[in-house]
């Protein structure tokens, strides 16, 4: 299972909250450049599994490898650095920082690094250009529409040139048309730029666009 082109590997991952077993012995692998979607009903453990695979949360049992490095058991500081260098996140509720402008939100992952303000801004602007948000650089999140917010969030996920992007219900808070536009961006990223994406959704329709669909039910991955 752990062959060279697997960028993400989970082995027998289990997560329990007290009595509740939320993720039950899941093993999976994602290859470099693959777009995998994880679909399942609300509450079946998708977010929990994604958190474990992306190094946001420690599993109760099992191991997870990202870009060949074992992330289970690493310290918070190591994980923070690792996420910053390798992982991009897109959340259902955007999670932009309300006090920062669009470009500052995009540049946020850069700020623990030694880099000039001009360089940060240049890189953020470039990505926002690609998201067709050049006219929104200085706007605060409150002044942006849902679709615009999510595009800012995508730009933020990409700024550190991640090896993999984790998207948790990226269209969950958007209307269908806007959601489709976001999906188009993700598909574009995957096809044109070869980005590896693991996307969680509860809508089978959205999941279909991916290279591969994993079905999750009651904490287990079926296919």
């Amino acid at each position: 299972m752990n062959n060279k082109s697997d960028i993400l590997v989970g082995i027998d991952l289990t997560k329990t909250y007290g009595e509740l077993e939320v993720v039950k012995g899941v093993s999976l692998a994602v290859r470099e450049g693959e777009f995998v979607s994880l679909v399942g009903k609300s509450g079946c453990g998708k977010t929990t599994l994604l958190s474990i695979l992306s190094g946001l949360e420690h599993p109760t049992h099992g191991q997870a490898f990202l870009t060949g490095k074992e992330i289970t058991g690493a310290s918070e500081d190591e994980l923070a650095l690792f996420r910053r260098e390798n992982v991009g996140f897109i959340f259902q509720s955007f999670n932009l920082i309300p006090t920062l402008s669009a470009w500052e939100n995009v540049a946020l992952p850069l700020f623990p690094m030694q880099m000039s303000e001009a360089e940060r801004r240049r890189r953020a602007t470039e990505l926002l250009d690609q998201m067709e948000l050049s006219h929104r650089l200085e706007h605060l999140p409150a002044a942006l529409s849902g679709g615009e917010k999510q595009r800012v969030a995508i730009a933020r996920a990409l700024i550190n040139h991640p090896k993999i992007v984790f998207a948790d219900e990226p269209t969950g808070n958007l209307d269908t048309a806007t959601g489709d536009a976001i999906m188009a961006i993700l598909n574009h990223l995957h096809r044109q730029k070869g980005m590896t994406i693991l996307m969680v959704t509860h809508e089978p329709e959205l999941a279909k666009t991916a290279d591969r669909v994993l079905r999750m039910q009651d904490g287990e991955v079926l296919s």
Partner: protein, 412 residues
């Protein structure tokens, strides 16, 4: 660093009213402390100044045991001429001494040829005495501001009670060391206001006249008053002088002299001490005020921003940076409060000074209140406030930095 600071400031601006409220709490605290420190400091300085400059001097030297029985002005506890001369020499060689004045103190009978009363007198060298206690002349309310041989300065209450005016002749009678009695006639050169405290209602004559009244074969000295160049260096100067005198006069475990600063001679030292203690407690209250208000705001800030903290952690912001971010917010609050408080406080002090507020101290009337904070005090207060703000934000900031990203992200 610059970015963290920017984010911290924006967060403070996000809740303008709350930030302003907290900052103004700190402001009120800073203003209060500044004004208190300035006014009590001014009062203290003036009080000490009055006591030391109008009567005591900064330091006094006596023969061992004199101070304990100073109320009855004993003649058998004087310094002999040789010792007095040696002390003079030593004091003369000290760089930090501005002036010194030997005094021959005695009690006697004061008569205006009609009736008589008790009087306590200081025999002095006028020029040396006026240099050592420069405010003494300001106490002379009538007559000439100096005395010559054959003249006497008498306290105002005595002058009033005995109906004596400047230019009148009076007689001083005193018992000598050997028990015989002697008298001498003086002309009243001036009448002086009393000051509060021991010795505040003494009269003054020339020291050679005093020796004559007391029929001293050679001049003896009861006390030597010393004025320092720099009053702020009282303790080190005191230690210096003491060491010098010890090397000169100590024989085995016998030291024939005693040396005191004004603190050991005047009960007002306790009032000054009390003002210091009050100032300390007021500063403590400021610390508590800043601590509680900043802690409160920062705890709220962390609670409100749990999801934000989760996001920042998720995208790889190291815990240390998150800690720093919240500390920076606390710091900024403290700095803001200090700047406004400092500004308002100094303005208030300026107004107090311009208003020419006066107060009375003992017999001294219309002393001008000079509310003044020395820069060191100002800096200390500012540093305390800012430091306490940082300390107060430590716990909330630590909590924020330790938050598990996924728990924070799931927070609703």
């Amino acid at each position: 660093m610059m970015n963290l600071f920017k984010i911290a400031l924006r967060n403070l601006l996000r809740y303008k009213r709350r930030t302003l409220l907290t900052a103004s709490l700190i402001t009120v605290g800073v203003v209060f402390v500044l004004v208190f420190v300035a006014v009590s400091g001014s009062f203290k300085a003036m009080m000490i100044g009055q006591i030391t400059d109008a009567m005591l001097g900064h330091i006094q030297i006596h023969k061992q045991g004199y101070v304990a029985s100073i109320d009855n002005l004993p003649l058998n506890l004087n310094l002999n001429a040789k010792t007095a001369a040696r002390i003079d020499e030593i004091l003369g060689s000290q760089k930090n001494i501005e002036a010194s004045s030997p005094r021959l103190k005695f009690g006697g009978l004061f008569s205006n040829f009609v009736e008589s009363t008790n009087i306590r007198l200081n025999g002095i060298y006028p020029d040396r005495e006026f240099k050592t206690v420069p405010l003494l002349t300001s106490r002379i309310s009538e007559g000439r501001k100096t005395i010559a041989k054959g003249e006497i300065l008498i306290p105002a209450l005595l002058a009033k009670g005995m109906k004596v005016k400047v230019g009148d002749s009076v007689v001083i009678v005193a018992t000598n060391k050997d028990g015989s009695v002697n008298g001498k006639q003086f002309v009243v050169a001036g009448i002086m206001e009393g000051v509060t405290g021991p010795g505040g209602r003494d009269g003054y004559v020339h020291i050679e006249d005093a020796a004559e009244v007391l029929r001293m074969p050679e001049l003896e000295i009861s006390e030597v008053a010393v004025r320092l160049k720099d009053f702020d260096r009282l303790q080190p100067a005191f230690q210096d002088i003491r060491k010098q005198l010890e090397t000169e006069f100590r024989k085995g475990d016998k030291f024939p002299l005693e040396i005191h600063t004004w603190e050991g001679l005047s009960p007002f030292f306790n009032i000054a001490r009390m003002l210091d203690i009050m100032t300390f407690f007021i500063k403590l209250m400021l610390v508590a005020l800043v601590l509680i208000s900043v802690l409160n705001v920062m705890m709220m800030a962390v609670y409100e921003r749990i999801r934000e903290i989760g996001t920042m952690a998720a995208i790889g912001t190291p815990p240390g940076k998150i800690l720093l971010l919240f500390m920076m917010e606390g710091l900024s609050l403290g700095v803001l409060g200090t700047i406004i408080g400092g500004g308002v406080g100094l303005l208030l002090l300026f107004i107090l000074n311009v208003a020419h507020i006066t107060f009375n101290f003992g017999q001294q009337q219309g002393l001008l209140l000079q509310a003044y904070v020395n820069p060191m005090d100002f800096v200390t207060i500012a540093v305390i406030v800012i430091l306490v703000s940082v300390v107060a934000s430590l716990q909330p900031a630590f909590k924020a930095s330790r938050m598990e990203p996924i728990v924070a992200l799931r927070h609703v």
